[in-house]
């Protein structure tokens, strides 16, 4: 039995697609130079999938972008989480790092793009560095907050029972901070996509941003549509994948919550 919400969603989507086809097609309200009709989008999709566009076929562009997002995300999330753990755990680390961090944090990540291009050119490493600037911050802040907000009595109890330090970290601190860490990771992933698309638009040889750039240069609305749809689709897929990992890793979480609130 489909929900009311689901029915409305399907009806809305159908209405929008019909409106799109009608406005760009028979009625001629929207000129195909401004926004492509469904057949033009299909044409562009077929072209980029078979002949290729912007120097490669669609799968190559997709693999390039998705791989860069994942690599950049992993580097940023890894360094951010480790530093966040250290800062949350040891106030001396926080005291040393915080002023530097506060100095760099207000800078919008995209404004690093020109500097990174000067340093590394249009190389893949340049994209990863730009993603790092953007995705590092939420991972770090949320990990630090997560560790700092662990209820004192959990740590005290573990100490009293003589838990060794490493087990304290693996067994208590990290698990207790994980929900907050994942909040940070979701934000990091989103930031990774935003910055990668921007960096690819500014300069790249392959990738979804490269499709968008080439399509813009040659005024090819159908291909712009395909590029945007691919960005949205794969942005969504990576988000779903992260949510899946989160649900697996945190499967035990409600029981921990009970423990904490007890």
């Amino acid at each position: 039995m489909p929900s009311r919400r689901g029915i409305v969603a399907v009806l809305t989507s159908a209405a929008l697609i019909a409106l799109w086809a009608w406005a760009t097609g028979p009625s001629g309200i929207i000129s195909p130079v401004r926004f492509p009709s469904p057949p033009l989008v299909w044409e562009a999709l077929v072209q980029v999938s078979t002949v290729g566009f912007g120097g490669a076929t669609l799968p190559v562009h997709i693999v390039t972008s998705v791989a860069l997002v994942i690599e950049g995300f992993l580097v940023a999330a890894g360094t951010g989480t480790v530093l966040g753990l250290a800062m949350g755990w040891d106030r001396r680390v926080a005291a040393i790092v915080n002023p530097i961090f506060q100095l760099i944090r207000p800078i919008p990540p995209l404004s690093w793009i020109p500097l990174v291009i000067l340093w590394l050119g249009f190389d893949n490493s340049a994209k990863i560095l730009v993603i790092w600037f953007a995705a590092f911050v939420p991972a770090l802040i949320n990990t630090q907050t997560g560790v700092r907000d662990i209820p004192e009595h959990l740590v005290e109890a573990a100490y009293m029972l003589g838990t060794p330090r490493w087990r304290l970290l693996w067994g208590i601190v990290i698990p207790a901070a994980l929900p907050t860490i994942f909040t940070g990771l979701r934000l990091s992933l989103q930031a990774s996509w935003t910055t990668l698309v921007a960096a690819e638009l500014v300069g790249s040889f392959y990738g979804l941003g490269h499709i968008l750039n080439e399509a813009q240069q040659s005024v090819y609305p159908g291909m712009i549509f395909v590029g945007m749809a691919a960005v949205g689709l794969f942005g969504w897929l990576t988000t779903v994948a992260l949510a899946f990992i989160e649900s697996r890793v945190l499967a035990w979480h409600p029981s921990v919550r009970e423990l904490v609130s007890a």
């Binding site: 001396r92 921007a198 941003g209």
Partner: protein, 267 residues
């Protein structure tokens, strides 16, 4: 060994902080001055600041830095205003009326995962690269948080309050101005603050790609001319303006929270 519980005195924290900053600027200066990294690619901090001051009244890429910033700021304000003008009422309506929620949410969810900068080609195609195109890109960055903030605010309202007011025969417009809106305000303001940050970020992205004035454009020009000092001065300027915006909004948020209670988006 209990590092987490270790409390640092203010002086110890200050000292360690200075140590961190000294290390950061020390390594930066040392790399540049000793020639470990060529000064073309990593100018030392002093020359970057000097460059920033020079840019204040010497034009680069056609305009002085304040003129670039003014151009940027005008686009930014327009985009933010547009996002607020559409996102705020729409979010409130979605929160108050189930049917509107059911209709808009799937569309919003479908578009949400498209990175704001992916709108650049259509923005340029539809509205040109002067004002309209960049404004659309700022809009796509700032719109979601405004909408979500307003939506959450509208949903936070205590149904008992609404029922009580309805029972007492409160007229529609007073219901809106005295119950529905005030309850939503704190969440709306939080959404606006996030939107202001994301909008500023999108603006810089847009300026890197499509326009011919503004601080982002200045940085791209400096990048092509391999003037790392100018690029870095631009980064500092963008960061300063971003912090100023955030600071002002924080003040505003604090004032609003005090006035309307402490309901937040975390609820």
């Amino acid at each position: 060994m209990r590092n987490r519980a270790l409390r640092l005195s203010a002086s110890a924290r200050g000292g360690l902080g200075l140590l961190g900053l000294a290390g950061f600027f020390g390594i930066w200066t040392a790399c540049s001055v000793t020639g470990l990294v060529s000064a073309t690619f990593l100018p030392d901090p002093v020359s970057v600041i000097a460059r920033l001051i020079t840019l204040l009244d010497n034009p680069y890429a056609g305009y002085t830095l304040p003129e670039h910033l003014t151009a940027s700021f005008f686009r930014y304000g327009s985009g933010l205003l547009l996002a607020t003008g559409i996102g705020l009422p729409l979010g409130l309506l979605m929160g108050w009326f189930r049917l509107i929620d059911d209709i808009i949410t799937p569309v919003f969810d479908g578009l949400r995962f498209i990175a704001p900068l992916a709108w650049v080609p259509f923005a340029a195609l539809w509205f040109g690269t002067g004002l309209g195109g960049p404004v659309l890109i700022i809009f796509t960055g700032a719109f979601p948080p405004v909408l979500i903030g307003a939506y959450r605010g509208a949903r936070l309202i205590d149904p008992q309050l609404v029922e009580a007011a309805r029972m007492l025969g409160t007229p529609h417009h007073r219901m809106l101005t005295e119950i529905l809106l005030p309850d939503a305000v704190p969440s709306i303001v939080s959404g606006l603050r996030v939107a202001a940050g994301l909008g500023w970020q999108s603006l810089i992205g847009a300026e890197l790609i499509v326009v011919s004035s503004g601080v982002g454009y200045m940085m791209v020009q400096a990048q092509s001319a391999v003037s790392t000092r100018t690029v870095m001065a631009g980064i500092i300027a963008v960061g300063l303006v971003g912090s100023a915006i955030d600071f002002l909004l924080r003040l505003g948020e604090g004032a609003v929270r005090q006035r309307y209670g402490v309901l937040g988006p975390s609820k």
